[in-house]
Each structure stands twice: as C-alpha cells, then as structure tokens.
Amino acid sequence: MDSKLKSRSRAALALSLASAALLTGCGSGSSAPAAKDDGQPIEVWARAGTDAATTYSALFKEFTAKTGVQVNFQGVPDLDQQLQTRAASKKLPDIVINDSAALGNYTSQGYLQKIDKSSVAGNDAIPDSLWKETQGLDGSTYGVPFSRQTMVTLIRKDWREKLGLPVPKTQEDLAKLAAAFATQDPDGNGQADTYGMTVPGSTERGYFGWWASSYLWQDGGAYLKDDGNGKYSASASGAQAGVTWIKQQFCTPGNTQPGALTAATSAATPFFQTGKTGIILTGPYNFSSFDASLGKDKYEVIETPKGSKDNTVLAEGENIYVTATNGKKDQTKQVIDFLVSPDGQKAGMTAGKQPIVRVPVNSGVDAAAVYNDPRWTVVQDALKNSSKSFPSAINFVPIKQAAAEALNKIASDCAADNVASGLKDLDTAINNELTSQNAKS
C-alpha cells in the first residue's frame, strides 16, 4: 500500500467514526430528567402477556368511554428490561403497573414520583395494610395498590378420592399425600409415573426462594426480620424447621417431580397440567389454564395446610406506579381513580379472559361474588386472615435469589446434614445484600 492510500483510508476511517459519533449523539447527562407533558395520550405500561393485555385494553376502553381521556396502553412481558431502555432515553412511560415487589428497585433507581394518598378518590376503601406495602424506605408512598392475591394449594381431587385419603390439614398430611400419589398409582395406568408435588426448585429468578417462603412462615421462620424504620436483618437461621420439611420432600423419591431442582415454573407447571403430579402451590392466575387442560372437577383448591405455627401463605400483587417523567397530573389522577374504583376493579376481573385484578384491593368489591366461583373465597380468606408479603421497600430480588441458591444447595445434597450451616451462609448473604442497600439494622 502506498502512503497516499494509507493516509486516505485513515481519513475515511476518521470521518466515518466522527459521523457515527454524531449520529449516536454521544454524551450523557447525569441527573434525573424533569417531568413534562408532551401533549400525547397518557402512556401506560403493564407487565402482561397476550391474555392479560387484552383485559387491560378492554379496561382502558371502558375508561376512555367514561372519561374521554385517551390512553396509550402497552402490555410488556419483559417489563423491567424494557423500562431500562426507556430509562436510558430519559423518558419513562407515564404510568407503570407492575409487581408490588418492584417498588424497592424502582425507588432506588429514581423512577418514581411520590403519591399523595389522600388525593386518590376512595383511598379509604383500600385497607391500610395494603397502603403500608406501598411505602418506600423513607416512609413516603410510592404506589397505589391495584390487585392482590395469595398462593393457593391445589390438589388432584380425583386422585385423592381414589386413594381414599382425606383433605390434608397439616404439612405432615401434605407430605403423606404426596408420597401416596407417588407410590399408589393414583391414575391407575399400572405404571409408576406419577409424583407428589410440583415444585419450581430452580435458582432461576429466585423461584425456589419464592415457592419455599410460605412453608418457612408456616413453621415460624422467615428470610428476614423487619426491625422498623426501613431497617431489616437476616433471620434465615431460625427457619430450620420449614427448610428441613422442604428438604425431606426433595429427598423422598417421588414426593417432588423429577428434575425439580432445575425446573423453573415453565418447566414445573406442566407436570400438574398433564396429570403427572397431584399437588401444586401456585397463584390463582392458573385456574383458567388448569380448568382448560385438566377440567374444573378434577382438582380442588384447599385451605392451606398448617405448619407447626400457622398456615401463612405468600401474598403478592400489583401496584400502580407514577413515574418521575410523568407531567400529566390530571390524566394520571383520572386513571388511578378509575383503576381502584369498584367499577375499574370489576372490569379488571371480568373484562377479558384472564383477570388482571385477582382479588380486588377495594374492600367494596367481593371477589367470590364477581367471579361467581367459591374457589376465590379461599384466596380472599387467605389474603385477609393468613397471608404475608415480601417487604417491598427494599429490592427483594437479590434476597429471593440468595434464598433460592441456598435452598437449592441444601436440597441437592440429601446425604449431608447441611440445613443449619446452609441457612447460616444464607444469613451472611442476606445481611451483605441489606448492607449494600443501606437497609441493614
């Protein structure tokens, strides 16, 4: 290559680099952008698959018909990833409807505006306990409750009756039933191809920690302790009884489905759906798909069996979040007021195939009556009397993840006496995480 050619190619390279830099608009700001109204319809995002998104669309259609306010709704299955992209462009959607557990993460990223609870019409119809779950570490309110639910225990009724066993009342009963399902051929096909419980025991997205929490609470344990004033400390060491029970299920062949330790819910749930397992602890959102695949008469929703302490189950839900870049004050208020009103809540339950409001947060609405389905009474009662939720002021995701990893380790080694030591390690991991979030007492 002669020198002229070299210098020319160098110049061309420099030119293309420069133009690329121009095009990408290099350079980044370093403070949170301000809220402003761009005159477009209010943009609402919700974590929703196709079915749920249809319900949302129907709901907002009703809202627009009533108020004349246009809504640009998007159902986003991978909401958090997409939010990050929008955060990078400093323009978040105006309203986000997502898990109540997302609150800690969102506030730490500066995504949210504070909400004046008293400005929400009908705020006194929402129980104080739910409002409390929308508080950030600083005690301010950062979300509006929209929907709640608890985990429920589903049992294959036909299998249980065929084997002549009673509805399980305690954790021991549940374990016995699981063993019977695994060994006594409840489907009567002459093959040992049925198992007891469906368990998502994978560490992926912390599934194991999520599933196990109910059983831990039932035996008086917990991952962490709320020390007040937005401070927490690890307490997993006190959960030996529950974890031991869980480990027993994994180490009794057949009590859990094969491959449970690497199964996320997507891999685990089909075992119940296709009649390979007879017990599942899951959310009521699965009713419709189980009704379709198994049949409504084949399974029952039972009151959660008691552990040594009580029958607490995990409660979860969705909140309405107002983002920091939202400058549409009036429209936002109208959307929120409608979503938590009796009409809005009912529409969320019935407007589409899949309910987006599971158990209404508005105490004026009765889930069992709206659905005309006594199974929802079980959910509603559990929510009212014996449920607990993960703390939402902190970012609980890493803690759930740490719990899943620790439990997965404990349950994968049946020969070892590792419950106490494994939980001690979990305590260390949780405390480290709390410290890094400035939430360690």
């Binding site: 050619l5 020319r8 061309a12 293309s16 680099l17 690329a20 990408t24 980044s28 700001g29 370093s30 403070s31 949170a32 952008p33 958090d80 990833q81 990050q84 955060a87 990078a88 400093k90 978040l92 993460n105 990223q109 500066g110 995504y111 093959q191 191809d193 025991g201 994978s202 560490t203 992926e204 997205r205 094969p258 491959g259 449970a260 330790l261 690497t262 996320a264 891999a267 920091a324 995701v397 890493p398 993840q401 990893e405 997965n408 380790k409 994968s412 080694d413």
Partner: protein, 316 residues
Amino acid sequence: MTTAPTKPARSLTRAPDTGQAPARRKLRNSKQLLAIWLFLVPAAVLGLYFKFIPMVEGIRLSFFKVQPFLGDVFVGLDNYVSVLTDSRFMEALGHTVVLGVTQTLGALVVGFALALLLEGQARSLWILRTTIFLPVVTALAVVGEIWRILYFPTADGPLNSILGWLGLGPMQFLNGTDTALWSIAVVGIWSGAPYNMVIILAGLTGVDRSLYESAGVDGASIWQRLRYITLPALRPSLVIVLTLAAIRSLRSFTEVYVLTGGGPAGSTEVWMTRMYSLGFQRNDIGVASAAAVLLLVVTLLLTVGTQLLGKRKAAR
C-alpha cells in the same frame, strides 16, 4: 458505481497512452478508491453500529455504577474488583474451563472420527453427513429442550431406559450436582462435533492420495498413516477448529441456561450465566460489563495464543 466493473477493459485498450497522462490516471485511481469505499460503507456502518460502538460502550460501562435514569457514576476499577473477588464468579470460571476443555476436546475427537468415517463421494455418505450435521443448524434452545427430555432423571426417561437395558441404575443427569456439568458437556459435544467434522472433511480432501499409497507400499499401518500423513496435513484445519471451539465454549450460555439454569446448587453455573443473572436479573449492568470485558480479554489472549502455537508448529 458502474466505473469499477468497466474499468479493466478500458485500461487494457488505453494501455499505450497511459504514460502520457499521469493526471488522468490519478483521477481514475481516486475514482476507483471512491468506489471501493462506497462498497465498503454499508458493511462498515453496520459493523460500527452493531459491533464496535456497543463494544466500546460496554467497556465504558464497566467503569461505572450504571443507573440509566439517575445518571451513571464513575467507580474506577470497583466493578472489576467485585468480579474478581466474587467467589461465585470464581466457581463459574472453574466450571467454564472444565466445560470448555471437555467440550472442545470431545467435539474435536468426535468430529475427527466422524470425518474419517464419512469421507467419500458416495450418495449414502452424503445423506449421512447431512443428517449428522443437523444438530449444528438446529436452534440451541430447541436442542436443550430435547435433551432435557432425553435426560429425564427417572427409570422411564429415554436415556435411563437404555441404561436400564444394560443393567445400569437410573442416573440423575442434569439433576445431580456431580453429573450435571458432564451432561451439559455431552450436549455441547453432540451439537459441536458435526461442525468440526465439516471443517476437517474439507481438510481431508486436501491430503495427497498418493502419499497414502506410497505409505501403503512401504508397509505403514493404519495408525502410522493417520499419525504421519493425515494429522500433519490437517494442522491448519485443526488450528481453526480448536480456536473456534475454544471461543465458543467460553461463551457457552444457551445450553446451560436452557438445561439447568446454572443449578443444581450452582454446579453448572458458567461465566456467561453468572453475567446474565447479574446484568439482567439484578440490573447490575456495571459489574456484568466488567465481567464481559474480562471474558473478551481472555478470549483474545486464547485466540492469539492458539494462532501463535499453530504458526510455530507449522514453522518447525
């Protein structure tokens, strides 16, 4: 754009008088250059946008606490320190190396054996080669789901029933902490070997047949022919295969993610799955970027190392 293809013909006819018109030649030269650059621009822009800018951005992010909304905060080498001092990352590194070495060597040996078995022109061989190549063109996620079924850890699982006929007990495969990593390696070999086979097959066609014949006349055994004729002739192909395989195994993600998600008890967690869960499940983009940069450096060193090794051997 039409100047480039017509140019050779013109320069041929005008050859005699070019010496008298250097200015015109210069003009033509620059026109030619312009054409070259114009043709390069689409690829260059695409490469720039989808490869190099993201890469530079990734390197930049590795020095920041990434908060897309509040603005990134410069933290120096903190992210690198937290990667290198994280015991889970170190465990993941161990698994990655074990998985990488097993998969690379396994796929090489199996690919070599397949190539030797399936070399030739017959139609039946052509069909067989196509069949065996299928795993390479199948989406890895699909391959993973199929192997999850094959590995079903009860006595009536497909692979376990075969083991049962041989009188071997049902194995845990993906569900056991001791067997999970090896089970993944087998999947990697299964899907990687046919690719190697094709490269080696191409190399085999370049081996001079007469060498085999003369070796046969001299009474060389099959093993000797392999050792002293085939292998040396295949050196360039083997270097390519080794380099590609090493890079691929360091980056292995899909098979692990689909098959075990890193479990049970973290026994199959590799560098990429750890990076993924930090970056996209914990939103710790800075630390994940630092891990990615480290992976890039290691890959670069490994590639250059293999190339140098191949060159030195070839020179000897």
